[in-house]
């Protein structure tokens, strides 16, 4: 693991009082390797290494720690800070209908995340309404209906032929009439480079004025995550990110890449296929995972 590798790389530092450029060179190479293996974006790796080098250079090697452990401490702290740190969602003003919109690439886990979010919000005392605004994927509406039933949350849908914008408008009217206080919009998966589909999201956003726009990203994604995040964020100014499939073994470097690229918080982690497999994102746990 990285601690062993850093200890190896820094074994010569023992007995010295300070870390120098020369002796952290090899350690930084190990960190770079670990990060690339964890799918951290090459640009984010560069930036991270520069920061760690700056922090580590000239630092006192604590007599109490192995030099490798000392380096790991710096890396871990810097990583946790970059992953979470100051990231908080602005509070939502009280009263009125809250609208939450989920978006992202095909197959990233949006529909499942909508149901999970609905369950969580319901357990926190809200009255959510799921909205099936994906009119493209075969049986998408059925899928959300089955999931809605599982978590005992109503699903608003329209017969085939309705456009997403119409569905959302009618859903808002329905929610107000039925006393639902939280609308969770499931949207179709789309490529970040599909201008027509990205325009559609912008139109839905204009209509619904969501207080929350969550970009759902599959934690297995490699270097492409930054492109995805940047495009979605530039068109929609997302509130935050939901990372899915964290119950897999992907090291999750995508978390650092996305934070670094768009500066938005990672808010939730989906950690399985069951409705309850959904939790708040923990930056420190993610840091440990990335470091392997």
């Amino acid at each position: 693991n990285l601690t062993d590798r850093l200890n190896q790389a820094l074994r010569r530092v023992r007995g010295q009082s300070h870390l120098t450029e020369k002796n952290i060179q090899e350690a930084l190479r190990e960190v770079r390797l670990a990060f690339l293996e964890a799918d951290v974006h090459v640009g984010a790796v560069k930036e991270f290494i520069a920061r760690v080098r700056e922090r580590a250079l000239g630092q006192e090697v604590l007599a109490s720690l192995e030099p490798g452990q000392h380096a790991i401490k710096v890396v871990y702290e810097e990583l946790t800070r970059m992953l979470g740190g100051d990231a908080l969602l602005d509070p939502i003003p009280a009263g009125g209908l809250i609208v939450t919109m989920l978006c992202g690439l095909q197959g990233s886990g949006k529909t499942t995340a909508c149901a999970k979010l609905a369950l969580k919000m319901k357990n926190e005392g809200r009255r959510p309404l799921l909205v099936a605004a994906d009119v493209y994927r075969p049986a998408a509406v059925e899928q959300l209906k089955v999931l809605g039933e599982k978590v005992d949350v109503p699903v608003f849908s329209q017969p085939q032929g309705a456009r997403p914008e119409q569905i959302v408008e009618r859903a808002m009217a329905f929610a107000r009439a039925e006393g639902r206080d939280l609308l969770i919009l499931d949207t179709a998966g789309r490529l970040h480079i599909d201008e027509r589909m990205m325009d559609e999201l912008v139109r839905i956003r204009k209509l619904a004025s969501p207080q929350r726009i969550f970009l759902v990203i599959d934690s297995m994604v490699g270097q492409d995550a930054v492109r995805q995040a940047e495009h979605f964020n530039s068109r929609l100014d997302v509130s935050g990110v939901i990372l899915s499939k964290l119950d897999g073994d992907a090291r999750g470097g995508v978390a650092l890449s996305v934070r670094h690229a768009i500066g938005k918080p990672i808010v939730f982690a989906s950690v399985g296929e069951k409705p309850a497999d959904f939790e708040a994102f923990h930056p420190d746990r993610m840091a440990g995972r990335i470091l392997g």
Binding site: D39, L191, H192, M220, V221, G222, Q223, G248, D249
Partner: protein
């Protein structure tokens, strides 16, 4: 790279970054760059010609990918039985719809087996694809045992005189041992049903998958002898570079590529286009 370029550390680093950005992974990138260095030796100390480095890397990548067994498998005596596997959300069900359409167009009688009995509305989704492709589908109740659905489906295929049977399975993370065991069980049911079956086991992978793709391939191959990869969502910006490592380590060729969400957005794998796209 205009004019000549010194194959120095800086330009090598730039080339490395292109490969890494395409999800080629550290190990394979180092292997390719070592190959490049080797071939650069003939230039001794002169500058290498423009584009030479990139073209040589493309050639080295193609060397890794070319293989005579990349053609889709067909059984000597029908039906050809194809098992489709992979992790969640990569495009298995959609790929099956596209394959079905292709084979129907070639005049085959095709049967789809809805082996995903877990996912909400999975059978409904596959049924829509069967309708679009113009073929039959065998499905069961949600929650039914997938191995029995496959067993019954294969019997249905025989009654139908199907030339091609394509079996959909639930997405599953390779880290879930009980789900991988379920997949091995499904494979055994198919093996017992017909000699030489399944004739093809396709691992579907999303082109945006990072280094975990290699682990996926190892684990799925162990559970169910994968014979080829379907690389999906290549109509996006992802390059699918991890498939080079999969080819090197496991000998698994990419056989098909998904390039969109419509019925005919499936093409035979084109290694030249794949290699070129990495450098676009």
């Amino acid at each position: 790279f205009r004019g000549g370029l010194k194959l120095d550390d800086e330009s090598l680093e730039q080339l490395e970054e292109i490969l890494l950005a395409a999800d080629v992974g550290m190990m394979t990138t180092q292997h390719l760059v070592a190959g490049l260095r080797e071939r650069a030796r003939r230039f001794r100390d002169k500058d290498v010609p423009a584009d030479w480095a990139m073209n040589t890397l493309k050639e080295l990548i193609l060397d890794e990918l070319q293989h005579e067994t990349s053609a889709p498998a067909l059984a000597e005596n029908p039906p050809t039985i194809v098992l489709v596997v992979g992790v969640n959300g990569v495009g298995k069900t959609t790929a099956i719809g596209k394959l079905a359409a292709r084979y129907v167009r070639e005049g085959m009688t095709v049967l789809l087996i809805a082996g995903d009995t877990f996912r909400a509305a999975a059978a409904e989704q596959l049924a829509i694809w069967a309708e679009r492709a113009g073929c039959e589908i065998h499905s069961a109740q949600e929650g039914a045992d997938p191995a029995s659905v496959v067993y019954d489906g294969l019997a249905h295929a025989r009654r139908l005189g199907a030339h091609m049977v394509i079996i959909d399975t639930a997405g599953r993370l390779h880290t879930k041992t009980h789900l991988m065991a379920e997949l091995s069980k499904i494979r055994r049911v198919i093996e017992r049903d017909s000699p030489g079956a399944p004739h093809e086991t396709l691992l579907v992978q999303d082109a945006s998958t990072g280094q975990t793709g290699l682990v996926q391939a190892r684990v799925f191959t162990e559970a169910t002898q994968v014979t080829g990869v379907v690389l999906t969502k290549l109509d996006g910006t992802a390059k699918g570079g991890v498939t080079i490592a999969i080819r090197r380590e496991l000998g698994l060729p990419v056989k098909w590529m998904g390039v969109g969400e419509k019925l005919d957005d499936l093409e035979l794998f084109d290694p030249e286009a794949f290699a070129a796209a990495i450098f676009n």
